[in-house]
Each structure stands twice: as C-alpha cells, then as structure tokens.
Subunit: 475 residues, 2 copies
Amino acid sequence: MKKLENLMDRVINRVNINLREFSIEVGALLRDLVPENQLVKFYAFYGIWSNHPIHFHFSNSSLAGSYFLGRCKVDNSILYKCDIRGDELKMKGDVFDVNGTAVTVEDDEVIWIKDSLLIKTLVHNYSHNPEKLELFLIKNSASAPYANIHGSPIEGCFLEPFSTVDLTSLHDCRVGTYTYVQVGELSHIEVESGRVWIRNKDIFDFNYRFPQDVLRTRYIAFVPGKGAMGMFMDFAEDRKMDFQRLYDVVHLDSPIKEIPQGASINRYSVWKGKNHISRNVLVSQRAFLEEAWLGEGANAQENCYISYSRLEGFNVTAHGATIIYAQLGRKVFVGFNSFLQGKADAPLIVGDESIIMPHTIMDLTESVTVPGNHLVWGYIRTQEDLEDHSIPLERLSKIKDEISIGNMQFRGSGEAFVAAFRHRIQHILEANGAFFDGEYGKGHAQTGQNISFNIIQPYPRGEARGLFPTIDIEP
Amino acid sequence: MKKLENLMDRVINRVNINLREFSIEVGALLRDLVPENQLVKFYAFYGIWSNHPIHFHFSNSSLAGSYFLGRCKVDNSILYKCDIRGDELKMKGDVFDVNGTAVTVEDDEVIWIKDSLLIKTLVHNYSHNPEKLELFLIKNSASAPYANIHGSPIEGCFLEPFSTVDLTSLHDCRVGTYTYVQVGELSHIEVESGRVWIRNKDIFDFNYRFPQDVLRTRYIAFVPGKGAMGMFMDFAEDRKMDFQRLYDVVHLDSPIKEIPQGASINRYSVWKGKNHISRNVLVSQRAFLEEAWLGEGANAQENCYISYSRLEGFNVTAHGATIIYAQLGRKVFVGFNSFLQGKADAPLIVGDESIIMPHTIMDLTESVTVPGNHLVWGYIRTQEDLEDHSIPLERLSKIKDEISIGNMQFRGSGEAFVAAFRHRIQHILEANGAFFDGEYGKGHAQTGQNISFNIIQPYPRGEARGLFPTIDIEP
C-alpha cells in the first residue's frame, strides 16, 4: 500500500501548488472520499471494438471501478469509478476549424490524465483547445463525485461535486459545487458554487446563480471532512446496489429479447421494471432505466436516471441528468446534471424542442407544464416558478443587447445563443446515431452494439497494493 | 475474421514445413478442433500478483479461454483454452548448474510462444535447455488437447492429444497420442503413440509402450477429421459445464468458509459435493474436486480430477491426472495424465511413497492394492495385472544393468533413477509449498492465495474478429 499512499500525497501536493492562490487544501476535501480499501476492491475495464482506433496506456495509477474507451493514457493518477470516453476524439486527418482557418489534425488525439485525482468523474468529447488539437490533457487536477469534464482540457484545477466544465480550457481554477461553465477559456479564477455560465466571447453571455442556501441545505453541499452531501448524493447512493450486480458477472444477457434496429443497451446499465426502447436509442454505461419509454433516437447517457417517464424521441439526456415522472416531447434536451423530479400525481410535462439548461433543478410540488420551444433554467418547484425561469426560444432569439429574468442575466445575441444550442443538440443526436437509416448516420448507438470489455485488476498485495500494473494496449 | 484465418493458415504452414520429413498435414488434424466461433466466444485471463515479476506481451494472436501467469510472450499464435504458467521460470541472478558448471541467469526468463497453434495445452516450469537459460521458447509448433509441455522448449513440433514432453528440448519431432517423453533432447524423431520413455543420457533408460489397440479403441485415439476420441475425451467433455460457470462471474466466493493455513483454492477450480482440504494444500485452476479429502501439503494441479478419493498428505497429483475411488497414502506421486479409476465397491489403494508413473492407466475391474514404495506403470485392471506393471523401489534401486518386466524395459542405474524421482517429488512438494511452516517454505499454495485475474477479450467484429489487441503488461 506504501506506493499508493505516496501517489495520493504526490497528486494532492501538485494540485495544492497549482491552486495556492486560493489557499485550499485538496487533501482535506478529497482524501476521505476514496478509502484505500475501496481502491483495492474494484476492477477497471476498457472497451475493445473495431469502430475507432484503441490505445490504452496505464502506469503508476489506481483505476478502481473506472471505464475507458478509445484512446486514453493515465500516468501517476488515481481514478475512482470514472468514465473516460475517448470515442469522440479527433482523428488524424480531421480538419478542424479555428476561427475560419482550417487546421488538419496531425495525429489521432488522445486523452492524457497525468498526476491527477478524479472521483466518479466523466471525461468525454475532445479537446476544444485549438492550440493542442491532438491532446486532451488533464493534469495536476482533482475532481469530486459527479463532475463532468466535457471537451475541456484542464491543468491545475479543482472541480467540486456535480460541477461541469464544458468545451472550456481551464488553468489553475477552482470550480464550485454544482457549477456549470462553458466559456471557452478560464484561468486563475474561482467560479462560485451553483453558477451556470455560458459565454461565447463577445457574442453572448448567459449567467444564473442558484439560491445558495436551498442548494446547500437540500440538494448538494460539499463539506470538508464529510464530503458531498444532500439529495443528489442520497439519490445516487440509494441506487448503488442495482449497479453492483452488473460488475459481478463477465457476460450479461440483454434485458430484452430483441434490440430494436440501430439501438444499443450498454451491459453496464441498469434496467429495472418494464422499459421500452425504440430504434436508434442509446443507453450508455452507468445509465439507469426504470419504467422508462424511450422513443426513436432518444439517448440516456452516463450517470442518467430515467424513471417512470416517457421520452417521445430524439431526446438528449446528457451525462448525469435525472428524469422522474416526466413526459418529454420530441427533441427535448435535458442538460448535464439536471435534476427533474415530478411525482406520480404531479408529473412534469415538457413540450417539443424545449431546452432544459444544464444544471437545472425542477423538483416539483405540483404538476408543471413547459410549453414547446422554451428555454428553462434554475430552480423550479411550481408552475409559477416557471415564469421567471424560462423564456420562449423565439423571444430569446430576438434579444440583441440584454435581458434579466429572475436571477438570470443574458447579454448579447439571443439569436446566436439559440442557434448554437440547436446546432449542438443536432450534433449530439448525430454523434449518438439517432438518425441512422440502416446505412448512413452511424453513431454511438450503433457502434456500441459490438463492444467487448476487458477487465484489469490492481495488485492485491504487497508494496504496490491497489496500484495497477503498467499496461499498453494497441490495435 | 479474415486476419484470424490468415493467421491459422500461416501457423499451420510453418509447422508443416518443419515436419515435412514425416509428411503430415497438421491442418487436417487440428483445424476442426478450433471452430472459429469458439475463438471469438471466450475471453483470456492473466494473473496479477506480487510474488513473481509479471510481464505479458500478446500480439497478432487469438487467446480464447487461455490463462497466463508470470512472464509470457505470445506472437502470431492461436492458443485455445491453454494454461501458460510462467511462475516457475528462472530469475535474473539464479545460478543454474550445467554438468557441474555454475552459470548465472542474466535476465528473468520468459515463455515465448511464437507462430504456434496450441489447443488445451499446459505449459509450465522452465526451459531445461542449458544453452538458452533465459528463454522458454515454443515456436512453429502445434499441440492437440491435453498435451503438456513441461520445462521443454520445442521448435517445429507436433504434439498429439494427451502427450507430455517433460524436461526435454525438442526440435522437429512428432510426439504420438498419450506419449510421455523425458529424455533431455530429441530432434527429427517421431515418437510412437502410447510410449512412456524416460532417459538420462547413459545413466538410465525406462521404456514402456501401451498395447495399441486397447489404447486406441478404449481410451484415446486421434482420428484425422474427427479429432481426439475415447474415454479420456468423454470424461473431460462430461465435466465441461461444471467449469463454465466459473468463467461467467468476475469474483467467486471461496467454496469453504475458512481456508486452512497455507492452503489455496484457485477460483477457476471446480468444487462439487463435500471436500476436505488440510493446511498447505494447493488446488490449481481447472482442477476438479468432488468428495475429495486432501491431507496436509497435497496438491491437485491443472486439469486434475479427484473424485471420491482420499489423499493422506504430501501427495503430488500432476497436471492432467485423474483419481477416482482411490485411497492414496502419504507422499504418493501420481504422474502427468495418469488415469486411476477405481469403483465405489472396488477402490484403488496405494501405500505410502509409491510412485505412479506419468501416463499410467489403472482402470479397475476389481479392487487393487499397491503396496508402499513401489513404482507402477502401464495398463492395470486387476491385482494380477499389477505383477508385471510394478516393482518395489528397493528392488529397482539395486538394478545396475537392465531388467524387463512385461512390456517395460529398464537399462542403467536403478539407484540413480529412483533417486532422481525422489528428488523431483521432493522438489515439486517444496515448489508447491507443501512444507510451509508459517514462515519458511513458501510455495504456490501460499503465493496463489493473493492473486487477481485480469480479463481480455478479442475483437468482436470486423477484419480482426477473434484476434486480441496488442497488449503489453509490465510491473
């Protein structure tokens, strides 16, 4: 165990040094979240398929419970129950547009995690740093449970629980609990808890901040020495045992006899009760379905919970989103770590093509209906709450300067904002294979059908206990 | 699948070329034994522990159902349900005695399997070729089910079903069905089926050959186009399903609550009914126990079946041995691929320290008692048969020139032969940890207690279907 302890100390020191201006001690915040016996207990696994070049390199690392796909390198790091998805990385020869200049990618891109401590964190997409097209680097960084690192190379950062950094390069930043940032580039900044911030240079800026006391006392708080607490954590903990059995067997039979054309159900997803999936549906690993009805081309991404709900089709349910007792129309988008909880007798109803912003909490005390083509954000419990937490997309499109609604401030071009969102939703659906016609439009739903998982385990004893051997996998 | 087919053709061609003087076509004999869908279906696994340096390298190979331990390299080969145990290899700095000259091993030895097709074959021990101390090479070779390659580097060889090459360097040889050779070195020779041949230069030579028709019609025959047939194969086939469930789960609970001190039960062994194991017992992977009682320091090695039998202690049950309805005294040795089958009402009884030669068939029609300190070989069904298939070790020790008993011829020093056997049995017990006192004398039984298994799977689709990715594992 000696080596694992040394590694933990080393990683924590590095993150602390990078963040010294904020005088935080990452060790005090994270060390207890990964008890050493847990790091010895769980295996890690990586996918083998023919759809994308594979490359895995692991050295001097602990990888307990983590999942890898695509091209990933991990050195001197501790990854606990993380999902590292290198299946959307750029490939050699891809042409990348940087402010109108076409740049050719010179080598297959790789996710490289170095000197970092990530806990229950999702890493996905590709590096949006145009200066380093071939490398999605995560270095000298630490993250707490249910953080999402999406298309965001980060160096010297600390991500608190349920935070999301999306399409943003971060350097020496602290990102608060349940904070969402999609701002292109940030450095030496502390982003406060519960902020939802989307900025595209001078074109637009969307800004919202959750009421702090309600977030902290009810949903999610990060307490030094105690870790992440609140309803979000309880919810995940309550469903932990349903996942455990998935890891105990090597081959798992599909939960349904016939998988619809173009659809895939990852064998590391939970399937409870009676669910329905239609063609081109994608159910990712660590997704949870219970009495769910998913229409054509809908997807349920990592760490999603969809219960007692109906999604009409072409729905995006982003990483970490929860949907309970809801009826979502076609092309409804539910962003990262959103928490939508209706009740059996008070469901949430969302009309076609509405966009639920990342990190939105809709914890209903009564039935709420969101009309079609609306943008929704923030904290909503009643139909009345919706009034100052939503805007028709058409109205937003017409904003040219600024608008404030409740706690939300928007500046810039509403048209560009709406177009960017629509474009992205379309891209996600395409990437996931929602429009696959049997020949064209292949995406994750189709490529995920033929994947095997290799299992790797740590040293069970001795000095290296809990560390994994050095492993290199090439095609 | 294209690449796997090419690989199969390539390997078969190479073996055929090496064996061209015997004009055999290995493809006709082996191709049907490994249906391509089976090669895609099974995972391979390798052990991670801290007791011995690990190194694994796999490239351009199919490894379905195979097991690896220690230091192994596999290139351009097809290994189907093989056991490659590199845990007794020489280590850097070991001093090896070559005819009285002390030679230091310059690097950790490695098993390297290259351009070969091995089916249900065990590879174990270390290279006994003093010219290549650091390499246990298996090249341009093919083997049929239940062959054992023990301490024997081989090049350009074809091993038929249930054959064993033991402590012997082989070059361009064909080894017949159920043949055992332990002769130091052999090249360009066809060893006929059912021969048991142990030779140590001019010091001694033991030679026996099974009656061919009884071997072929009852126990084991190798029929081109049909594969291996007979009671030996049926016996293994009948128990296949008991093994299957072992491979379906990642973690398997121990079959007994408390494992006696110093003992280990490999999680890939089958445990049926009520078994008893004592301290320092070793139960290896793919061993099968059913109503077995194993005394202190007894071992059950790979592909062993021990049913309704009692082994008093310090028993060696070598790779592939079967023991049914038998009572074996202390330190009884049962050699490779021996088949000892008593009946409930006609058990086999073997006295202390007797040696059942490798490849001995005792298929009883009545109860048979072997007194202690006897050497037993050949084909025995009744007490009377024993007369010309055994000799007291004391009497054998006194032989200085030669002796014939039944089909067995012995030439040379009986004393040296008996001493060599006794020495080897002692060494095997030591290596297996039979004498571990809680501090000194650690062996496989103790080191096997703390081992994890990593699982690797082949490409499920595409050109490379059935092949495994290139993998390198270092400490």
